[in-house]
């Protein structure tokens, strides 16, 4: 883990490296300045302005393109390349419709009569070709078409139509789902508008704000997890709306640690004359566990996970616990070394020597850590800081190794508890009375690591169920 000292050292090193790199560019490296005539204030003669501007432009090696109306400096600073809008090629007239695709009806030409749009699928072996959007305009009787590239030509469907420029005609919204990226892969919409008689796919300004699913926060990847923000989009009252969670959430081992209540930023999307959708901030939304969103009340913040009471029931040497959820097994601590003996319902018998003084066996299985077999938590009656997790590996029951920066211990600053719902949690003291909450997950092989839930405050730190959002 990076400490303040190492960060400070990194900052110093970065500062020095940047300075050194920048100073490789020396004044003499720059192309020489040509003699120039300074620009005059622009309230002076337009001829003087034109002549002096031309001289400067020659120096700069650009073509004079004229001076237009008054604009803010922010408006004319070169922006990253604008999205391009292109007319579709006239291909696929002989393609066939797919039986599973929908046939949306919407008013593309704004005459009050809805057009029926057919999706013609490009025939390919993998059903991964293009789709021709085919319709006949009610206002002119002419054929119109567009071309879409989705990941599959099977089962094409649309969302409700939108009118993003408020001009009275409607735009067609096709969800693009990343089928090959798995259930967690982000998607986004393709929006088509009737322009010059054709269905043109609109450009998107800031496409990073128009997505669906969990999207990695750049640079957040660690060895065992990364951070994601949750995105959504949809159509509300004829407007395309998108949202993004304000906070990011840890994702690891196919799990995203996301509380039920989260705060989202939202945008509505407007269409400009050039065919580009632009986001407009639409305020803060609070999403509740049932999936409904409402405008944020004052002080809205993310919830924390439902914290089940700590499981305090443990067994000592000679006692047997039966675990009946999922893989059924019984476990007991035998005297001697001591030894953890596990008997599975399928007849497997496993024995592991425990390296824990005065071991105590939790009667709740840590199912949130490992569910596909036997797993137990062992603590110590004589050393309250000790917490061990053992999980079945074939016919063995090894102790899992801790990985990452969070210690698996129960101390004053690292409170660790097994909850009655099978989650194993650690709260690390943040130093200001608040705590950082972590949940333990099996990550690879015999290793477990703690994934961050975020800040949490406790009314009584001895009772984890009193935790609440700070």
């Amino acid at each position: 883990m990076s400490t303040p000292d190492t960060m400070s050292a990194m900052e110093d090193r970065l500062r020095a490296a940047l300075a050194a790199r920048a100073e490789l560019v020396r004044p003499e490296d720059l192309a020489p300045l040509a003699p120039v005539v300074p620009l005059r204030p622009r309230w002076q003669s337009p001829w003087v302005l034109l002549a002096t501007a031309a001289v400067v432009l020659l120096i700069l090696g650009v073509v004079f393109q004229g001076v237009t109306g008054r604009q803010r400096s922010d408006d004319v600073a070169p922006k990253p390349d604008a999205p391009q809008v292109t007319l579709p090629a006239d291909v696929g007239r002989d393609w066939k419709t797919d039986d599973l695709s929908s046939t949306p009806r919407l008013d593309l030409d704004g005459d009050g009569i809805k057009e029926k749009v057919a999706f013609l699928a490009e025939p390919t072996k993998e059903h991964d070709g293009r789709i021709r959007l085919q319709t006949t305009l009610s206002s002119t009787g002419e054929e119109s078409w567009g071309i879409a590239q989705l990941q599959s030509t099977i089962g094409t469907y649309t969302l409700d139509p939108i009118d993003a420029d408020g001009d009275g005609d409607q735009e067609l919204v096709l969800p693009y789902d990343d089928l090959q990226g798995g259930p967690d892969a982000p998607g986004h919409p393709l929006v088509f508008d009737l322009r010059d008689g054709l269905l043109v796919q609109l450009g998107v300004d800031q496409p990073e704000l128009l997505q669906l699913g969990n999207v990695q926060v750049p640079g957040s990847e660690t060895e065992f997890y990364d951070l994601v923000r949750n995105f959504s989009y949809g159509v509300e009252d004829g407007r395309l709306v998108s949202t993004r969670s304000v906070r990011s959430f840890a994702r690891g081992n196919m799990t995203v640690l996301r509380p039920g209540t989260i705060v989202r930023d939202s945008w509505t999307w407007s269409l400009d004359e050039a065919g580009v959708l632009h986001p407009e901030p639409a305020g803060c939304l609070l999403e509740t566990p049932d999936g409904r969103t409402t405008p944020c009340p004052d002080g809205a913040r993310d919830g924390i996970p439902d914290l089940a009471p700590a499981s305090t029931s443990t067994l000592g040497v000679g006692e047997t616990a039966d675990f009946t959820e999922g893989y059924r097994f019984s476990a007991r601590i035998q005297p001697g070394d001591p030894i953890l003996a596990v008997d599975g319902s399928d007849g497997r018998a496993m024995a592991t020597v425990l390296d824990v003084p005065d071991p105590r066996l939790a009667t709740v299985q840590p199912t949130a850590v490992f569910y596909d077999g036997a797993s137990v938590v062992v603590t110590s009656a004589s050393d309250p800081s000790r917490v061990e997790v053992l999980a079945q590996r074939g016919n063995f029951m090894p102790e899992l190794d801790r990985a990452g920066d969070i210690p698996l211990e129960n101390t004053a600053d690292n409170r660790t508890w097994l909850a009655e719902d099978g989650t194993l949690l650690t709260a690390t003291a943040a130093g200001d009375g608040t705590w950082e909450l972590w949940q333990w997950q099996l990550v690879s092989g015999d290793r477990i690591t703690a994934l961050p839930w975020g800040p949490v405050c406790f009314d009584d730190v001895e009772d984890p169920s009193t935790g609440h959002a700070c």
Partner: protein, 172 residues
């Protein structure tokens, strides 16, 4: 009476520092010169765009950052990016050499996301405040703070991953 920007004076006064800023963002001298040239060209086309000449440098800085980002995006889009200093004719600065300890940092810096790199360069080379960085990048101060924090962590990890022996050549 509304003052206008003296572009020639700006050009003479700030070109070097802006090319240095650009070279930290795009990491090759020729592209950096182009980026700065484009920034001045944009200003020359619209000198009235900056009503207050004292804000011209901030305007140019925004322009350089945006144009540098576009240049990098074009490289990626073309899927033909390789370190330009391997392809371009030798530039005057090729005579200079970056020390190994600095080279490691610069190589790692260019493995970061564009936004992270921009925040780090503006903060640790341009010495801008969080508010100024937020204004330059058109993001909130909170985003500046969190981006900088994560970028430093990412930079450290990128440096740990890159083996000094994997690329024995010196920075040019």
């Amino acid at each position: 009476m509304e003052p206008a920007v003296d572009i020639t004076e700006l050009y003479a006064a700030h070109r070097l520092s802006l090319v240095r800023l650009a070279v930290l963002l795009v990491d090759d001298f020729a592209s950096a010169e182009d980026v700065v040239q484009d920034a001045f060209a944009a200003l020359a086309r619209r000198p009235e765009a900056v009503r207050d000449p004292s804000k011209a440098l901030a305007y140019l800085r925004v322009s350089v950052v945006n144009t540098a980002r576009s240049a990098l995006r074009r490289r990626r889009t073309a899927r033909a990016y390789s370190p330009p200093h391997d392809l371009s004719p030798p530039s005057p600065e090729d005579a200079a050499v970056l020390a190994e300890e600095h080279r490691e940092v610069i190589v790692a810096l260019h493995q970061l996301a564009a936004r992270q790199r921009e925040v780090l360069v503006l903060r640790y080379w341009s010495n801008l405040s969080e508010a100024e960085i937020a204004q330059t990048l058109d993001i909130s101060q909170g985003t500046v703070k969190s981006t900088a924090s994560r970028a430093l962590v990412a930079l450290e990890k990128a440096m740990q991953k890159s083996s000094p022996s994997s690329s024995g050549k010196e920075e040019r």
